[in-house]
């Protein structure tokens, strides 16, 4: 039997309000593994289930309330058209870049260079590789029709996979300490100052990834009390 450490959970994710689970985009809610913040720097086994039960319920309730209180927003037909065009591109491309090959290469890059043990030189290399893969993903093409076409879905996923991989890599480079599941070979210790902020990634005006520090809110008093009692 082979036993080895593996990547099994993403602590980062969509930034949401802790009560309503609403993101910065009004009306867009996230709960569970795709939402950020609940588990701090490392999730403990079993906590994901309670997370999704509690915050899934909250997200549902607040989303329902939001839907009742807000009329449908205006949808720009131009935006729909351009999204549709984007989505259909993989069928029209003449190149023979296999979307699965790009996906598998990305998996290998992230596993090898931004995996369990991280270091600056490797992560810089990863950014380089991600850039190359972005170019390849723009050539990804698929056959067949639109129904149940997993190759097409993979081609569409690539954009998101590459964006998230870049955000993960840049954030990991930026956090010059080791904390929870984030382990840096070149900064093996915890840094007190770094424990006071979260790294928030936003899309810049030219589509680039921008990182910012957001202070971690102080622990509510009732929680603080429980922590003290358990000590």
């Amino acid at each position: 039997m082979e036993i080895g450490p593996t990547t099994h959970y993403v602590m980062g994710g969509v930034r949401v309000d802790g009560d309503s689970q609403m993101s910065d985009v009004p009306g867009l809610f996230a709960a569970g593994e795709c939402a950020a913040g609940l588990h701090g720097a490392n999730r403990l086994g079993g906590n994901s289930l309670s997370d999704l039960l509690v915050f899934g319920k909250r997200a549902g309730e607040y989303a329902a309330r939001f839907a009742k209180e807000n009329a449908l927003g205006a949808v720009s037909s131009q935006a729909i058209e351009s999204a549709e065009k984007c989505a259909l591109q993989p069928f029209e491309r003449k190149s023979s870049e296999n979307p699965y090959a790009v996906q598998h290469t990305l998996q290998d890059v992230m596993q090898d260079l931004v995996g369990i043990v991280r270091a600056e030189a490797e992560m810089l290399q990863a950014l380089e590789r991600i850039r190359e893969l972005k170019a390849r993903s723009e050539r990804a093409s698929v056959d067949g029709n639109r129904e149940y076409n997993a190759g097409w879905h993979t081609a569409l996923d690539l954009h998101n996979l590459l964006t998230i991989s870049e955000v993960i890599t840049r954030s990991a480079l930026h956090r010059k300490e080791s904390r929870g599941a984030h382990f840096r070979d070149d900064f093996p210790a915890k840094d007190e100052q770094s424990g006071k902020f979260n790294i928030v990634a936003r899309k810049g005006t030219n589509g680039e990834v921008q990182l910012a520090h957001e202070p971690i809110p102080p622990m509510p008093q009732e929680l603080q009390q429980i922590v003290e009692e358990m000590k």
Binding site: D143, N149, G151
Partner: protein, 249 residues
Amino acid sequence: MATATFRIWRGERGEGQFRDYTTETSEGMVVLDVVHQIQAEQANDLAVRWNCKAGKCGSCSAEINGMPKLMCMTRLNTLPLDKPVTVEPMKSFPHMRDLVTDVSWNYEVKKRIPKFQPRRPDAPDGTWRIAQEDVERVQEFRKCIECYLCQDVCHVLRDHHMHDKFIGPRFLVYAAALEMHPLDVADRIPELTKDFGIGLCNITKCCTKVCPENITITDNAIIPLKERVVDRFFDPLSKLFKVFGGSNT
């Protein structure tokens, strides 16, 4: 590295043909791994439904060498690899594409089965008291992952297409779990006899054989339900009792 050939059904809405794919295999692989590998390397648009890869979501049902199985739980070392391994969609449901079928009929059937209806609480605080023995009796039925492999193999659905008259083994299991639930007071016996068609099952036990959760479908769910139906509607003694019951009181 060893190679093996997989003969996979390709096509749409019932029309199609088998296509052979030869691919590398390695130790510990399951059929779903091979299907994914073929999809990634040779047939990007191959349609296949899956989710957990752990035998718990019931999505990856297919017929492997003619046997209804979960692709994610069928290891290659349980199959003869010296000849092509056939992989095809389930036959009892409308075909969509490649290995994917439309199983929504099952969801409609489920809606028709009267829901759980608990008796009044036993204690003033709104709680109930149940004997452990009664809890255990229905426990097995709750393991069902709704893979519908039992529905696929049952001849009443597969060969006789009696989807409008028979709910199939999966939903007889579901009905049994509710009927035998120690708190439930709803009565499903008249429906089981008429609309749900329990009489169409002739206890061939094929469903039990294919169940990946090893639920003893026929012996523990269907037969006890059949006994309840017989007791209610066909038992000569209780019929007599019904006839004379009135005048005796």
